[in-house]
């Protein structure tokens, strides 16, 4: 390829990357401005001197608003608990179901697998109102159970893991059986470690999905102590008195942990998504 063409490609890509990255930079810049600076017209690109105290302020602003002791500490704790439990739940239910579909022969296997797969086609809007009714009738409103349990099974994860388990040569299982190892031990001690790449992908995307979830927590919780980060952030925004520098600091607080995780594990993130695309 000619150098000119290559330079043009670089320039286009660089311009695009700047556009894509700009909102993040604007968020960081705004989060370090004074309130006067955020109201300046035309806006300055950078703050005169960075106002780092905006971050601790954003962290505890929720306290002032709701008049109780709830801050981002509670939001983070709640989100971490929920995301960790949901991820663990998805891993356990998926490993078990995927193993049964991949390695066991039983009546109705084909039909059940199709049935499992077909639940992927049900959009969440349809199940939204009935699921809220279920949560209410179980008395789970404002509980961790409401935030976790409905998300602890995931068909796509079962599908990916089944692929992995199917690709393990059957000789492994036969050798394990000769050594007196049954399905249970074989599954956890041999098959599961061999599916590690798939488990990492599932962990990343389940955790991320749970961390970024907004609509469901908004609908099944309303007590301040039960707020997850996304809901807490929204509460901050809906308050008239919140300034944009505080709000951008709060957004950064919610975004930064995910970005750091993404930068460390980016190959896994991207492989996971590409795999999903190729599988259809």
């Amino acid at each position: 390829m000619s150098t000119g063409k290559k330079t043009a490609s670089y320039l286009i890509l660089l311009f695009g990357a700047l556009l894509v990255a700009f909102p993040f930079l604007w968020m960081l810049s705004t989060s370090l401005k004074t309130t006067q600076e955020t109201g300046a017209s035309p806006p300055r690109l950078l703050p005169a001197s960075p106002q780092w105290q905006n971050y601790p302020e954003a962290w505890s602003t929720a306290k002032k608003i709701s008049g109780d002791t709830v801050t981002f500490t509670v939001y983070f704790r709640n989100s971490l608990i929920v995301a960790a439990a949901v991820t663990l739940g998805v891993l356990v239910t998926s490993i078990l179901a995927a193993y049964a579909f991949a390695n066991m022969h039983f009546r109705g296997r084909g039909v059940l697998f199709i049935l499992f797969l077909s639940t992927m086609m049900i959009p969440f809007e349809v199940t939204l109102v009935p699921n809220i009714k279920t949560i209410l009738s179980l008395g789970w409103h404002n509980t961790f159970l409401a935030l976790m349990v409905p998300w602890m099974a995931n068909v796509f994860s079962i599908f990916i893991l089944r692929q992995f388990f199917k690709n393990i040569p059957h000789d492994y299982f036969e050798a394990a059986q000769i050594d007196g190892c049954g399905h249970w031990r074989y599954l956890w001690q041999i098959a599961t470690p061999m599916a590690a790449p798939a488990l990492v992908t599932i962990t990343i995307f389940t955790f991320l999905g749970s961390w970024n979830a907004f609509l469901w927590p908004l609908l099944v919780t309303d007590a301040p102590r039960m707020r997850v980060v996304q809901v807490g952030l929204h509460i901050l925004m809906s308050e008239e008195s919140t300034n944009y520098n505080t709000l951008m600091a709060a957004s950064a607080i919610v975004i930064i942990p995910v970005v750091v995780l993404y930068l460390i594990l980016q190959r896994k993130f991207i492989e996971g998504v590409s795999g999903a695309g190729l599988k259809g």
């Binding site: 290559k6 670089y10 890509l13 695009g16 990357a17 894509v20 990255a21 909102p23 993040f24 604007w26 968020m27 705004t30 109201g39 017209s41 035309p42 806006p43 356990v92 239910t93 078990l96 049964a100 579909f101 066991m104 296997r109 059940l112 639940t119 086609m121 049900i122 959009p123 809007e125 199940t127 939204l128 109102v129 009935p130 279920t134 349990v149 409905p150 602890m152 068909v155 692929q163 399905h183 970024n212 907004f214 609509l215 996304q230 952030l233 925004m237 944009y244 709000l247 951008m248 957004s251 919610v254 975004i255 970005v259 993130f269 991207i270 998504v273 590409s274 695309g277 190729l278 259809g280």
Partner: protein, 322 residues
Amino acid sequence: MSRGTDNQHKAVAAAGWLWTKSRPYRYLAPAAILLSAFAIYPLFHALHMSLHSHRGRFVHLENYKTLVTETEFWRSLGVSVWYVVGTVPITLILGFLIANLLFQRLRALGLFRTIYFLPYVTSTVAAAMVWRWIFSPNSHGLANTVFQWLGVDAQRWYYEPTGVFILLGEALGIHVPGWAGGPSLALVCVMIFSIWHTLGFDIVIFLAGLSAIPREMYEAAEVDGANGWQRMRSITFPLLTPTLFFLAIISTIRSFQTFNQIYIMTPTANRAATQNLTMLIFHRYYENPDYGVATAVACALFLIILALTAVQIKVLGPKVHY
């Protein structure tokens, strides 16, 4: 005595047999119970609710009739369709172009890919707030500042319920009739956000599709003297069609389901301008103790998504590898 132990043996053997036979079902049980309770049961529950009044009386298709006679339903459907039309093709084209640029064995491929994919992993709530700040309708808003530099009037952005074609017509001095107004400027703000947010996903999927095309095909074409455009037209396009189709369908389905960014980026006062079907379900749920209509909207949406999925399976089915 011996008969007793014999029976005991039989019972133990039977229990053992049952235990072994039921093993697969026990492995499936946790996932199956959860899916039944929170996916399959609520689907039928929704169908049931959509056919009943809130007192539990069977009302046939009354809720659906109410729905189709309401202008709000049609307007929301219109917003959903505009949203798909305004985001999916643009994101696909941009994604395709950028993926192809990235695929030329450029040195910084990894770095560019990391940046382009970044928005996709960030929370829509937090990121939509940043964009709301960019589209601030005041003079200190970034979008308005850029418009000022360009010599264009300041806009009300997410507060603007008027169609963009009407606004464009006004700016150019052309009268555009109301029916041709297009999506509201408020909705266009959300569309811009969504293109930014999902572009990286399309790029990554296209890159995966591109790397699955055997290199030899390009080399052979080059030997035969095919130029860049010819290689694109006879190798890249045809071999990338399944990828393109997969992305088009999945993006359309996701666009129909959009909620977070619309909810965050639209002030209550301007809610009608961006209310799609998902928002309509949400508002009906909150405002109306009669969930029949809310679930009727949900079931209508389900039918649309089901139809799209059916198209996907029909066209793409043979090419999906299990």
